[in-house]
Amino acid sequence: MSPAWPTRARWRQLAPALLPALNLTLALALSAVVILVVGEHPLRALRLLATGAFGSAEALGYTLYYATNFVFTGLAVAVAFHAGLFNIGAEGQASIAGLGVALLCLGAGGWPTPLVVVAAILVAGAFGAGWAFVPAWLQARRGSHVVITTIMFNFIASAVMTHLLVNVLIKPGQQSPETREFDANTWLPQLHEVARGLGVDIGRSPLNLSALVALAAGALVWCYLWHTRWGYELRVLGHNEAAAVYGGIAPARVVIVAMSISGALAGLVSLNEVMGVQHRLLMNFAGGAGYVGIAVALMGRNHPAGIGLAAILFGALYQGGTELSFDMPALTRDMVVVIQGLIILVCGALEHALRRPLEALVGRAPAAERA
């Protein structure tokens, strides 16, 4: 048709990848300004951040270990989001799942490890789903908004965990509120150990089997959402509830199913933290991953592949940021959080701010050629 066509089409293909990249660049540029203000050299800081996150096998291992959590919570937020629901309760769902996993591990002293792993995946999913089910049911049957109820359930989860750890599950004769260490047969295999068994050295890091579970979860979520009728129903509901009702879809049922899947995914964080790294249940082991998951899902455009990339970015910021604050004392842990905040702000809240200028730029080019 008109000469504008190929450019428009190419723009449509490129936009999903180009925009986040541009946004990220903008966020890093803003961070550079902040680093300058603090009195450090921005490029050196950036290089430290990068080597801290990707510079060695150990660094990469740490980055991926953090990313594992964010994949789970990012997927959790995304599944709910596709159904038009905003699950802010991934943090609480992860903690309660941690309780389930801990109870299993404490009681599974003599079991073979593979059995414990399978049971733990089921228990983590079930506890997470259970904690999400109540807000889901309240939304579906009583119209209580999940945004509100899931936030409330984070506080309830936190209080329940504190009570249990301080009064019930605490290891006798100890001050800090945590359980005893689990028996070694219930520990998730560390990937560096597995690799060493195969004759490969990938450096010591807390990266464990749950990273592979995260990959599998991403693939399953992708299949469920885009290649089953249930995923179809979920997406229809998320886009247009009236059309869902017209199409014979029961919104209440889909809301409950979507939130339960979401909660189960969030619950899998406990595999990584409780079973893979700490080998005991302690307070706030989720460490804010539930909230970071919202940013990850937002940046990853609620698609498993995007969530994987965004999770690695945030994992890198966590890991690289820790290294950065070692080497540049002026850049404290809090400054790293500021940089994360800038990235969330630019890539999330201002996601489309660059879209129009960019489209205008692309749209104008062929017009100029014609003239």
Partner: protein, 519 residues
């Protein structure tokens, strides 16, 4: 009065206006017709300062103007009456008129001035509206008058009306035309955008036809005919009437008795309606928008709960054997093409082929035990594209990328593909271009001729009159008329739509025919 010269406007790859030149004489009523997507709305948007043309100039009273906003347009004397009213419902008429031109810190003086102005305008143009009535209490016709008053009180000499009769009864439309004529006689200029060719003939002096972004003709109205205009709009000859053989209705498929439907706010929208639809007939429900037809249709489709009353399907009461859900209805052989395809019938962000399985996504033809087989969905899509001439044929495009007519074809193809025993269809041709209207009407008649039942709800009287074998008239949630098409005239239907019961409507009609119409 207004002259457009060489206006060009493109939105990305869509060339909405190409080299449009148009001259509107002061003190005339100028009609603009064209199919959806012909560029009428873009052109009016340019005139009202919403869009800026890529090329070309606008002259008002011989002087070139640049319109950057609605304020600029108003300053140039151009006012717009939107298709969807821009009124604050809980405010009074006066408040709405003053909104945006309060004139100063204190409201009092502005309100007093506006009140005086309203009275003057009301007298001059038969535009009487109670300035202290709340807009939410007014009927649609009156709300439209408020919109016109708003534009006039801001000093508009040129009024643009976008599809003004879409929501009016024929009588209300007549009143509107009187107002337009009064405006013309006082030297105002009116630009009337419409797709109803009858209105062009009735009220305009000059008519401009647009097709694919270009002006294809501008002629004095007296020199054209509706057939000629339709041909110009579509670019080929079209049949405005459907050829139908007499119907042969058989057994009732759907019987409704004393049906009451209450909306979410507890207001009764359908107040005890009884009728039957038999196999092999098209039953049309006529009525002004908002008189309960939408609620009736949605209740019958199982989307809205029924408050009371009985619904029988092929002689069996359904409530006794299970819930009345859309899923169950579909299995029984009832299809539903909803009135509002954007709200109900389609999921705009999803792809065309995803929308094309809505409601049938659980069909074993598309599903394995777990997987949804997109290859099967795509195959069904390709078949429907061929059979219903859906364009473009790429099922992976978002549903929103299809034009109104093609979106409607997607819904129609999906629902007719199952050869339903009863088709519920609301506003089948709303926002659909003439070429597609012809196609859709033929499919509905073909369905009837295949011995199926059709229940048609439409606010377009022409459509009801050309398709329905039997016409029910709905007013204020009740059926006020039930007559075979042969006995129906637009005037009689119009009176019933306004709430006159059938016998008196018939009497008035008979009197009119006898030439003794009461004043």
């Amino acid at each position: 009065m207004i002259e457009l010269r060489g206006i060009d406007k493109a939105f990305g790859a869509v060339h909405a206006n190409r080299d449009v030149s148009l001259s509107v004489r002061a003190g005339s009523i100028h009609g603009i017709v064209g199919e959806n997507g012909a560029g009428k709305s873009t052109l009016m948007g340019i005139l009202y300062g919403y869009y800026r043309p890529d090329r070309g100039e606008i002259l008002v009273r011989g002087r070139a103007v640049v319109l950057r906003s609605a304020q600029d347009a108003l300053a140039a004397g151009i006012g717009m009456v939107h298709q969807h009213f821009m009124l604050v419902e809980p405010f009074t008429v006066l408040d709405n008129v003053v909104l945006g031109v309060e004139g100063g810190f204190r409201l009092g003086p502005g309100l007093a001035r506006a009140r005086a102005e309203l009275e003057r305008l009301g007298r001059a143009y038969h535009l009487e509206v109670d300035p202290d009535a709340r807009v939410m209490d007014l009927g649609v016709g009156q709300r439209q008058r408020v919109e016109i008053l708003k534009a006039l009180s801001r000093g508009a000499d040129v009024l643009i009306l976008d599809e003004p009769t879409a929501v009016l009864t024929p009588q209300e439309a007549d009143h509107l035309f009187q107002i337009l004529r009064a405006l013309r006689s006082q030297g105002k200029t009116v630009l009337l955008i419409t797709h109803k060719l009858r209105e062009i003939a009735e009220v305009t002096d000059v008519v401009t036809v647009m097709r694919a972004g270009r002006v294809v003709a501008t002629q004095p109205t007296v020199e054209t005919t509706p057939e000629r205009l339709a041909e110009l709009m579509v670019g080929r000859t079209v049949a405005l009437r459907v050829d139908m053989t007499p119907s042969h209705p058989a057994e009732p498929v759907l019987e409704v008795a004393d049906l009451v439907v209450t909306d979410g706010l507890g207001v009764e929208r359908v107040k005890g309606v009884s009728f039957a639809v038999r196999a092999g007939e098209i039953v049309g429900i006529a009525g002004v928008a908002g008189n309960g037809q939408s609620e009736l249709l949605e209740a019958l489709a199982g989307i809205r709960p029924v408050t009371s009353g009985r619904v029988r399907w092929k002689g069996r009461d359904l409530a006794e054997t299970g819930p009345r859900t859309p899923r169950r209805w579909r299995r029984l052989g009832l299809s539903h093409v909803p009135e509002d395809r954007h709200r109900l019938g389609l999921v705009l962000p999803l792809s065309g082929q995803e929308s094309a399985i809505l409601g049938y996504h659980g069909d074993p033809a598309y599903n394995g035990p777990v997987r949804l087989h997109w290859a099967a969905v795509a195959a069904a899509w390709r078949r429907q594209v061929a059979e219903y001439d859906i364009r473009p044929g790429d099922g992976r495009l978002p549903t929103s990328a299809f034009s109104g007519g093609n979106q409607q074809k997607i819904v129609l193809a999906r629902e007719l593909d199952r050869h339903p025993d009863l088709l519920l269809i609301g506003q089948p041709t709303r926002g659909v271009d003439i070429g597609a209207i012809e196609f859709i009407h033929r499919r509905l008649v073909a369905l009837r001729d295949a011995g199926k039942a059709v229940l048609l709800v439409s606010v377009e009287l022409d459509e009801i009159l050309s398709l329905a074998d039997r016409i029910l008239v709905m007013h204020d949630g009740r059926l006020v008329g039930d007559l075979p098409r042969a006995a129906a005239t637009e005037r009689a239907l119009g009176l019933m739509m306004a709430g006159l019961p059938e016998p008196s409507a018939r009497a008035v009609h008979a009197a009119a025919l006898a030439g003794t119409e009461p004043a």
